[in-house]
């Protein structure tokens, strides 16, 4: 019988989740719903409203979210099987050091710092719009106390995230529905008339691309939550249902509210209708339940790169950096967040390929080329486990696909959906590189890394 390894870093950041810590499928569903419950999702619906009429908007949302549902379900399953987060799973398709790079890309820098800062600032901005004449709700000050709120549950860890999700998610979605009907009621637009709102000015493909891009990063870090599932498939089912049904609903609600009220900021619009505290809570709770996950995932990614600090210490470090960027840089100094958003968007091109190499390695290479039929046997973890330092095909596939994905975002090379382009290309390239190398007996992993007692 193996001895239980001490969880040195917290929340099993470098370890497999033990059986006694596993949660129900409903718990995973609630946590995923908490991540989705964000003002930015409603604003994303506003973006769709600029391109389509109500009916087409719904179609586009459904199509895009089905794609996201499938991708996220595929990445969640290895997490449920192996009970490991994304940064541990990547040790196989990218190598141990490659996993550090991949982890920093998908969660460490993009979610943990950049998007945490942007979402915190967005929180401050929305709060200031709802209550414009109070210093406590000025962009800078609201960003700071908002950032601190978001740090608390991330600091507590999965338990805290689960609690805030269970408490706020049911109410948050009901509040969105209330805002939706309030917007229609206030503007005198009936349910039948609602379907005539908007105009189709873009091809459907553009909208599907847009929808996929909104949540591509979320698809790839599903193992961070799915590893807690009581069943191997808990995370996959929870993810698929929440994104195909509820993200579609949110996008549609956001779009209709924008079309009905004509307001670019729908939260401010429903506050103006007379839903004051409700609108404020919509903003606070929505940002809180999403941003704590960004910070939590980011802290685990950093633990897997820099073992000097525990997960909680990384939450404090990253959260403080993000809050300072939001509150001081953007708030007090009024500087633009565009450099951070642009860099985050660039990094975002490399996120889908990270998921792509994981999918290719777990489902195809290990199953059909190495012949490991039992999914639980494909990835092993624990002190003394040996990994390649760099998986050469994985890193090549990641870099090339990410670059191509970025290229297809440029107008002169625009083609299909950039996120899907890079995801599919990474799967193809990974297999194109690794299968011939394996069959020819060529070593595709460089160096050896042995897992320590702490799981690092």
């Amino acid at each position: 019988m193996t001895e239980k390894v001490k969880d040195f870093y917290g929340d099993y950041s470098t370890l497999q989740v033990p059986p006694e810590e596993r949660r129900s499928t409903l718990n995973l569903f609630m946590v995923y719903m908490g991540v989705l419950a964000v003002v930015a999702a409603i604003f994303a619906g506003s973006g769709l409203a600029m391109m389509y009429d109500a009916g087409t908007m719904l179609t586009v949302a459904i199509l895009g979210n089905i794609v996201l549902g499938i991708i996220g379900a595929l990445t969640a399953y290895p997490g449920g099987v192996c009970r490991a987060n994304a940064y541990m799973l990547l040790r196989y398709p990218l190598g141990r050091v490659g996993a550090m790079i991949g982890g920093l890309i998908i969660a460490g820098i993009s979610c943990g710092i950049l998007w945490f800062a942007v979402e915190t600032w967005l929180f401050g901005l929305t709060t200031s719009l709802i209550f414009p004449d109070n210093w406590l709700t000025s962009i800078a000050v609201a960003s700071i106390w908002g950032g601190i709120l978001m740090m608390t549950t991330a600091y507590i860890g999965y338990k805290g995230i689960g609690i805030i999700s269970y408490l706020t998610v049911p109410f948050w979605y009901v509040l969105c529905l209330i805002g939706f009907f309030a917007a229609l009621d206030h503007t005198g637009i009936g349910i039948n008339a609602m379907w005539s709102l908007g105009k189709n000015v873009a091809p459907i493909g553009a909208g599907v691309t847009y929808v996929i891009g909104v949540y591509a990063a979320g698809c790839i870090i599903t193992p961070d939550v799915s590893r807690y599932g009581i069943k191997k498939w808990s995370g996959s089912v929870a993810w698929f249902i929440h994104v195909t049904i509820f993200m579609t609903v949110l996008l549609f609600i956001g779009g209709i509210m924008t079309l009905a009220t004509g307001a670019p900021n729908v939260i401010a619009a429903i506050a103006a209708i007379g839903l004051g505290a409700g609108a404020l809570l919509l903003a606070i709770l929505g940002q809180w339940t999403t941003n704590d996950n960004n910070l939590w995932s980011g802290s685990m990614a950093f633990v897997n790169v820099f073992p000097n600090f525990t997960r909680r210490t990384w939450v404090l470090i990253l959260g403080t950096i993000g809050t300072v960027i939001a509150g001081v840089w953007a708030g007090f100094w009024g500087m633009s967040l565009d450099p951070f958003i642009n860099f985050g968007t660039l990094l975002g091109c490399f996120v889908p390929p990270v998921g792509g190499v994981l999918i290719a390695d777990f489902y195809i290479f290990r199953r059909y080329v190495l012949g490991i039929k039992n999914a639980e046997e494909r990835y092993k973890f624990g002190p003394g486990t040996k990994y390649g330092t760099i998986n050469v095909p994985g890193m090549l596939a990641l870099i090339i696909s990410g670059f191509v994905g970025w290229l297809t975002t440029l107008p002169e090379y625009s083609f299909g959906a950039p996120a899907l382009n890079s995801l599919i290309l990474s799967i193809v390239l990974y297999l194109l590189f690794i299968v011939p190398m394996h069959k020819a007996g060529v070593k595709y992993e460089v160096g050896v890394w042995i897992e320590k007692e702490t799981g690092f």
């Binding site: 269970y166 408490l167 049911p170 007379g274 409700g278």
Partner: protein, 138 residues
């Protein structure tokens, strides 16, 4: 024998908790027609139906279940309590909002009921979690 008694007693506590939430939900449904405005009626109907459904369905589930261990009782109870507690937060935030134009007396009652749902729900969730060792976010 002690374990069997403990389970029976625990089941009774859980059923009582769900019954309290069910009653509070029914109160809000009964108040719905008296809010004085159609917006208040729809609000109370929506939140009230969610509470009644979540509490009532789980009440029958827990009551009728031949449980083998405490988890079989505690997990569904906690899941139901979370939904009702969350709706309590909903009443706190919306009852006094100008948009719904609910009459002052009814709004005050709904506001108080919301706090009852939130505080009682939180209390029972923490108590059950401590008693059984099951995580709060089950």
């Amino acid at each position: 024998m002690d374990m069997v008694l403990d389970l029976a007693k625990f089941k009774k506590e859980c059923v009582s908790s769900l019954a309290v939430m069910l009653i509070l939900g029914i109160i809000t449904l009964v108040l719905a027609p008296f809010t004085g405005h159609y917006r208040g009626l729809y609000l109370c109907s929506l939140l009230g139906i969610i509470i009644v459904f979540a509490s009532g369905a789980y009440l029958f589930l827990v009551y009728g279940r031949a449980a083998k261990d405490i988890r079989d009782i505690a997990v569904p109870t906690m899941q139901s309590l979370w939904v009702s507690t969350s709706m309590g937060l909903g009443y706190i935030v919306t009852a006094l909002a100008p948009y719904f134009q609910i009459s002052a007396t009814i709004a005050a009652v709904l506001f108080i009921v919301g706090w009852c749902l939130l505080l009682f729900g939180a209390y029972r969730l923490v108590t059950i979690s401590k008693k059984t060792g099951i995580p709060l976010a089950v």
